[in-house]
Symmetry: C2
Subunit: 364 residues, 2 copies
Amino acid sequence: MSSIDSMRNRLCKLATSIELRQDIFHNTTGGGMGTETKRTTIYDIAALAQASPSAVSSVLNGSWKKRRLSKALADRVLRIAEQEGYAVNVQASLLRRDRSHIVGMIVPKYDNRYFGHIAEQFEVMARDQNLFPVVTCTQRNPELEFEAAKELVSYQAECIILTGATDPDRISAFCAASGVQTINLDLPGKLAPSVISDNYTAARDLTHLILDRCATDLKWAGPLRFVGGRRDDHNTSARIAGFEAAHADRSITIPEGHIMAQGYSAQTAQSVLDDFLPHAPTGIFVNSTISLEGVVQWYASLGEAQKWVRYGCFDFDPFGSFLPGNVGMVEQDVVGMLRRTFELVGKQTDATINILVPCRLLPF
Amino acid sequence: MSSIDSMRNRLCKLATSIELRQDIFHNTTGGGMGTETKRTTIYDIAALAQASPSAVSSVLNGSWKKRRLSKALADRVLRIAEQEGYAVNVQASLLRRDRSHIVGMIVPKYDNRYFGHIAEQFEVMARDQNLFPVVTCTQRNPELEFEAAKELVSYQAECIILTGATDPDRISAFCAASGVQTINLDLPGKLAPSVISDNYTAARDLTHLILDRCATDLKWAGPLRFVGGRRDDHNTSARIAGFEAAHADRSITIPEGHIMAQGYSAQTAQSVLDDFLPHAPTGIFVNSTISLEGVVQWYASLGEAQKWVRYGCFDFDPFGSFLPGNVGMVEQDVVGMLRRTFELVGKQTDATINILVPCRLLPF
DNA sequence: CTGAAAGCGCTTACAG
DNA sequence: CTGAAAGCGCTTACAG
């Protein structure tokens, strides 16, 4: 202990009343936000409990039994800590400990059923394993993603889950250099293991479902149109492959212009369809709920022609089953994906690991 | 600098090649997750750049101009830091600095349009102000809320936004003792300023909208039913007051059983209506999108009787306008609420401050 | 203008 | 069984 620390202790011992002690140490400081009271430290509690800072630290971090401190001491310290509203200083504690137990996650959006669910379940499951989750939302912005990952490394995160990251490999490379594990979720990467939905199979199943409904309801055999997403996006291209495979299963040829993967916004989906007023049966594979908003907007504008249209959507929304014309949706298995992800956390992993998690097809 | 530190420095100076230096300091340690490389520190960079740790620190934290270090030195240090993949140790840095710039938020859910949007905008707006946002999702669980707030205090958060907290006052009291500011968002509290939606006015407006539509579409003048939420919940009770006021505006008496605020789940909303098959005009004020799911489920089961029903919902969902029978929704002004909230962050605030933010009524 | 030194609040190996 | 002491990786007042 430094000489100032011991002086502090001696002063505390002299200060018999809490009031006096507060006069000495709880002086308000000017910096920071508002009027800031100096936070209670283990030294304050040690003085109050007539114990050493070491003993207080042991009691507060739970190692007191191992160190065979007396129950009486422990109770006393705990009571005083409670009274004083003590909260450990994580910065000081982690600086000294060898593990942070922090698991980070970057996620593109919260304001989205799928990613919102992922972030929420991630926190629940991390806490269940005594890990401390820190999630941050990076708006699909590659620079922000990288900065956020760097910040998580700075916070001594032990593992970072990269959810739907636009440039996961750059982040994985940086993290690896600091000995921080990364795992790709939802979109794969080359430098870390990946856990993703089985987009191909689910898209193939959904395509068959829409084709079946078109056959039943409209007495029509396809081919369907594909709306939403981007061809160069991994998930969209896997879904297009499934879409094509289902057509191939039925020996249906897909004409050139039927794959309309021109972007993710509702606006784009709607404008792609804008001039299209069907006079004959039409089936649409809608890629993502955000594109669905555009398709439904368009559908609502059709009036009588609605009878010619059936569609299904890859991704789930609880109101989906109430949308007229919607024959089914694909729900991704968020909990399943996270379970597989957590199996990898803290393990020696291989960048070639690529786990495909099946989705659920929900016919309406 | 300690004697070991200076020995380190001397060793570094002897270690002319990067490889040799790595042999000395980049030894893999067993602890933590996977194979962990010792992270690069300012001492490593100092040795590599032939500079003092103080100088490296200044360069890395941007204070080098103020300290008038040479541009050449700064460039050299920055280049080496980049090469080595240096990331500052926040724990060490914050332990020494007087401000953390951390702003925390607890939020009940991410998996919800409203709260998801709040969390997302909070992060964006915090970063815009050079604050570091840390959001955590507490599942409407009072114990978890308190633990999460305590953790944020431990992380030296300067301010914590309590969003929809079930027991905000307990948290505010604890935080105040540590000099940490709290602000209530969405639900008010007694011990900290509150920023909440003007539930009363918006509910009154929505009630008038539904009554108007019932008059036009069904030639019927009310009274409406109120479904969802809990009477003892602040927001629900304000909405019920608005609901009642609108009826009073039109001199309509609301019968006893018409206010069915028996809980938030979709299940509850549906079961409350389950045995009700309308044979005459009916209008429903739906409290929250989660209750809306139940109401729409019920509505879908009505068949022919759908023609007797109109409803509107407090809260917004992008698919809401496509739901048959739905005449309009209330959208809460998330950005407006957060803007008012951030105006309070870091300011000396008064617990009696109670800011009401108007909502937008969206008629369909 | 620049670097050595002190110290932030903890934790734990170590000595007694 | 228990406490003094060292040290985690930074930052900055201070001395030169």
